[in-house]
């Protein structure tokens, strides 16, 4: 069916574009907290898009259940990991400087 393949193509390109934007944000944003923001949200959206595409391509119940489980695990673990990392950085006052974050 041609409709389904087009939909899968669009979702895959959207997901990889989200992951690309996450990596671009991690490379270019000025300090650590903005980088955390870019990495976590955009990569969660990207992997979610890929899992949705897998649900459309393989419409068997076990694949759909495993995709939903992977999505729940991802959406539970990604914010917790970034929160722990930001908590580890927060006591240092020079982590936010807004101009490249280059000074240690």
């Amino acid at each position: 069916m041609i409709m389904k393949e087009t939909l899968v193509d669009i979702i895959c390109v959207l997901g990889s574009l989200a992951v690309f934007l996450a990596a671009f944000g991690v490379l270019r944003l000025p300090d650590f907290f903005t980088r955390t923001h870019a990495a976590t949200k955009a990569s969660a959206f990207g992997i979610g898009c890929f899992l949705l595409a897998a649900c459309i391509v393989f419409p068997q119940p076990n694949v759909i259940l495993k995709s939903i489980f992977a999505l729940i695990a991802l959406f539970l673990t990604l914010p917790v990991a970034s929160q722990a990392l930001a908590d580890a950085v927060r006591p240092r006052s020079d982590a936010v400087d807004g101009e490249g974050g280059e000074k240690q």
């Binding site: 895959c12 997901g15 996450a22 890929f50 897998a54 695990a73 722990a84």
Partner: protein, 83 residues
Amino acid sequence: MAFTICHILLALSLVMAAWRLFKGPTVADRVLAIDLLAAITAGAIMLHAIDSGAPVFVDVIVVLGVIVFFGTVALARILTRDS
């Protein structure tokens, strides 16, 4: 065609995240870059699963996500203890 575009975008993302891992001014930036590298790898694995029609790779995503989560939280604890 669309899968070629996806692969090119993911390869560019890998290069950018690896550059942040190489450059990163603090240790936390490097940990974040490792986290992002794992997410990009998960995306590439899912893309290969869709492209080759093998749905077993969804299990790989679950295991990779959990292992990287434990790694990130452990490194964050080490950073908290050191500072």
